[in-house]
């Protein structure tokens, strides 16, 4: 059994970040002077309506997009800033994609072992062994030699998370990973994610539009305004971990939902109206 590490790595600081798309032309501001602190080993949930710019933030941390100004640091080291607008993608911050990005032409185990092998950190046999044991830990025994297309989407998501964790990342970046799953599978996924988290204690940066999911999973919930996004309200969820599905019906959970529901709904309405105007 893994002994949970005391989290000392994976602290992200988003400092006054601005992102403007097409500055010379349409000048669409996606992120508006956003400042957010994420502690090491914390599960930070980002909640906001679709299209508000939360994915832009995630992409900036991951190194897929540039920022226009501001600064993002990881454990004190600068990832990107006004002088160096694009971070280098790396295995210390791994993304789990919305529609899944397991390589369909590799088996699950080949996917999971991919990271350490291509980085040269482990020899092939060692990587496969480690992958086997990590998959077993995550309750995924039995699907190692199947292709992603052969298993259900819930299983695929979990395999993708294990693929990320194989590289011992500081941060897991999740971009609405459970959006396409039905609610029954989702609840199973939540508990699976928490189980994995308890064994591995990485920082989790999790984007969702589902407030319940956010409060259930997160230490901190940042509710973002509609485009351009910045934190409108930050909630510290004081329900203790480890949590299980009974939390969903607890009094404290309901209270937290009430506190934040209005804020979320307000932004959702704004987004809807803005969409109508854009036509």
């Amino acid at each position: 059994m893994n002994t949970p590490r005391t989290p000392t790595r994976g602290a992200i600081r988003i400092d006054d970040v601005v992102k403007i798309y097409d500055p010379g032309g349409a000048a669409v501001m996606a992120v508006d002077h956003c400042t957010l602190d994420i502690e090491a080993g914390e599960i930070c949930m980002i909640v906001g309506p679709s299209g508000c710019g939360k994915t832009t933030l995630l992409n900036a941390i991951a190194g897929f997009h540039e920022i226009s100004s501001g600064r993002i640091t990881l454990d004190g080291e600068v990832l990107c800033s006004t002088d160096k607008p694009k971070a280098e993608p790396g295995s210390d911050r791994i993304v789990v994609f919305q529609n899944g990005a397991l390589f369909p032409w590799k088996t699950n185990i080949e996917n999971v072992a991919f990271g350490p092998i291509v980085q040269g950190k482990l020899a092939r046999t060692e990587a496969v062994e480690k992958a086997l044991s990590m998959m077993a830990d995550a309750g995924l025994s039995g699907v190692e030699h199947n292709y992603p297309g052969e298993v259900s989407s819930g299983v695929r998501r979990r395999v993708e998370i294990v693929r990320a964790l194989m590289n011992d990342p500081k941060v897991l970046l999740l971009d609405e990973p459970y959006r396409a799953l039905d609610s029954l599978t989702k609840s199973v996924m939540h508990e699976a994610l928490l189980e994995i988290y308890y064994k591995n204690k990485v920082t989790i940066f999790f984007i969702t539009h589902d407030l319940e999911e956010a409060i259930f999973l997160g230490h901190k919930v940042a509710i973002m305004t509609t485009r351009p996004c910045k934190p409108k309200k930050i909630l510290n969820v004081d329900i203790p971990h480890p949590r299980d599905y009974n939390v969903l019906t607890s009094k404290r959970f309901r209270e937290l939902m009430e506190e934040t529901n209005d804020a979320v709904h307000e932004e959702a309405l704004k987004a809807f109206r803005a969409g109508e105007k854009e036509g």
Binding site: A62, G63, F64, P89, G90, S91, R93, I94, V95, F97, N99, A101, F103, P104, W105, K106, T107, F114, G115, V118, Q119, G139, S141, G142, V143, E144, H145, Y147, P148, G149, E150, V151, S152, S153, G154, V155, R163, A164, N167, D182, L184, T185, V188
Partner: protein, 447 residues
């Protein structure tokens, strides 16, 4: 201590199944059917679920509690004694008809809630839906062989696994599977009607009713008689070696051109898709030359190449090359951005991305391109042979016309069609074989 029997609500059952291997891998519809077979039982601490040697009828899934599972001595296992908890499945010996008795003793060490499913009913369910059944059974097989080394046991599993449906869904066998499915549908009979109509019309129009214009055509009986005759009037039939010489010549030319076009076109297309610079330099030139029909090259090719043979192969090559390169490029460009991003997150270098993502990811398009390539190769070859060549099916068709050997024209055409189809199918099968993952995904209907 009688177990308390209870049938759970379908939703709760579904939820339980979704958490357990190997069931969670199948679709919800299938899970509901499986869940419908199950019933719940509550046991107290110390209750013996079954003893080694008991009749094996049900499979067990633990909902809550703990069960100690002790194998009888003599059964080689990696873990002879296990404590099983919620979500674990055991007692699957019930699935193996020829293994009627329990291999272990199962005792509850805590108050335990169990869901039980009758093994025979489950097997029958799998037989009715072989795709899902196969998925579950393979998972069982993997789980079991991981833990046990009883040779008979494993052999039993293989028998059951194969008995579920005629033909594994793997690689080349997919073709057989498709065929077997298709044979069971009404399609073969409609197909026969179609051919009967077509051939019947041909026969009637030319030989019986002698319709105007159709009169001049070679009739179907004439063609067939000629084709199977040992001493054909016009010198070409299934029994004459020249027939096969011509076929061989055409096939050999197409093969040369196709292989060359693939060896050059695929890398060229890969680079066009992968490197923006490469594309900026070379794609305009490529697109400028492409609209010139291959057959417009014929006279120039004859001028350029000393031998007509080289000219013919060049023309065929050119057609294949365009198709291959273009489709390969499209294949690379079709790769989802998220795969490339994931690879960069996972630390892959540019070349590793090329090798592990770009090449396998474009294979589907590449193979579509190769099928098109074979098609256009035949197209160009025939034209080239008709205009300038010796031997070959195009040559046969042309000379049969000029020498007024009409039935041979038709023989040539039919042979061309058949050979063209076979070569195209060969490419498709090669693609199915190399892209196992796609074959399986398509077979399972993708989720």
């Amino acid at each position: 201590m009688e177990p308390v029997k209870k049938a759970l609500t379908p939703e709760v059952m579904l939820d339980i199944f979704k958490r357990t291997m190997p069931f969670q891998v199948v679709s919800d519809t299938m899970l509901r059917k499986i869940a419908a077979l199950g019933w719940q039982a509550k046991h107290e601490q110390g209750a013996v679920l079954y003893d080694a040697g008991d009749k094996a009828d049900d499979i067990y899934i633990i909902v809550s509690g703990k069960v100690e599972h002790a194998l009888e001595p003599g059964v080689n296992a990696r873990r002879p004694m296990q404590t099983l908890g919620p979500g674990d499945v055991f007692g699957w010996a019930a699935l193996l008809n020829q293994y009627p008795s329990r291999l272990a003793t199962a005792v509850c060490v805590e108050p335990t809630e169990i869901v039980r499913i009758n093994g025979e009913e489950l097997l029958r369910l799998f037989e009715s839906d072989p795709d899902s059944g196969d998925v579950v059974m393979s998972r069982f097989a993997t789980m079991i062989t991981r833990d046990y080394t009883v040779p008979d046991l494993i052999a039993q599993l293989r028998t059951i696994h194969r008995k579920l449906h005629s033909g594994d869904i793997q690689g080349m066998n997919l073709t057989l599977y498709r065929l077997s499915l298709w044979a069971r549908s009404p399609r073969p009979y409609l197909m026969l009607i179609g051919f009967a109509l077509f051939l019947g019309f041909w026969y009637l129009a030319v030989e019986v009713w002698k319709l105007p214009r159709f009169r001049e055509m070679p009739g179907i009986t004439v063609v067939i008689k000629e084709w199977i005759s040992k001493d054909p009037t016009y010198g070409l039939s299934l029994y004459t070696p020249e027939y096969y010489q011509h076929i061989g010549m055409s096939v050999w030319r197409v093969t040369q051109a196709f292989v060359l076009a693939t060896l050059i076109g695929v890398p060229f297309g890969l680079f066009l898709g992968w490197s923006r610079q490469f594309k900026e330099y070379l794609f305009p030139l490529f697109e400028m030359l492409r609209p010139i029909p291959i057959l417009a090259w014929v006279p120039l090719a004859i001028v350029m190449f000393v031998s007509t043979e080289s000219a013919v192969i060049y023309l065929t090559f050119l057609a294949s090359f365009y198709a291959t390169a273009l489709n390969t490029m499209l294949g690379v460009e079709s790769i989802e951005e998220s795969y490339l991003r994931a690879a960069s997150c996972l630390g892959a270098s540019k070349w590793q991305v090329f090798r592990h993502i770009i090449v396998p990811g474009s294979l589907p398009f590449i193979f579509t391109g190769l099928q098109i390539s074979v098609g256009v190769a035949w197209f160009s070859l025939v034209a080239a042979e008709m205009v300038s060549g010796q031997y070959g099916l195009g040559y046969v068709i042309n000379t049969s016309y000029t020498m007024v050997r009409y039935p041979t024209i038709v023989i040539g055409m039919i042979t061309l069609g058949a050979v063209g189809y076979v070569t195209s199918a060969m490419v498709r099968i090669a693609g199915d074989y190399l892209m196992q993952w796609r074959v399986r995904e398509l077979a399972l209907g993708g989720r």
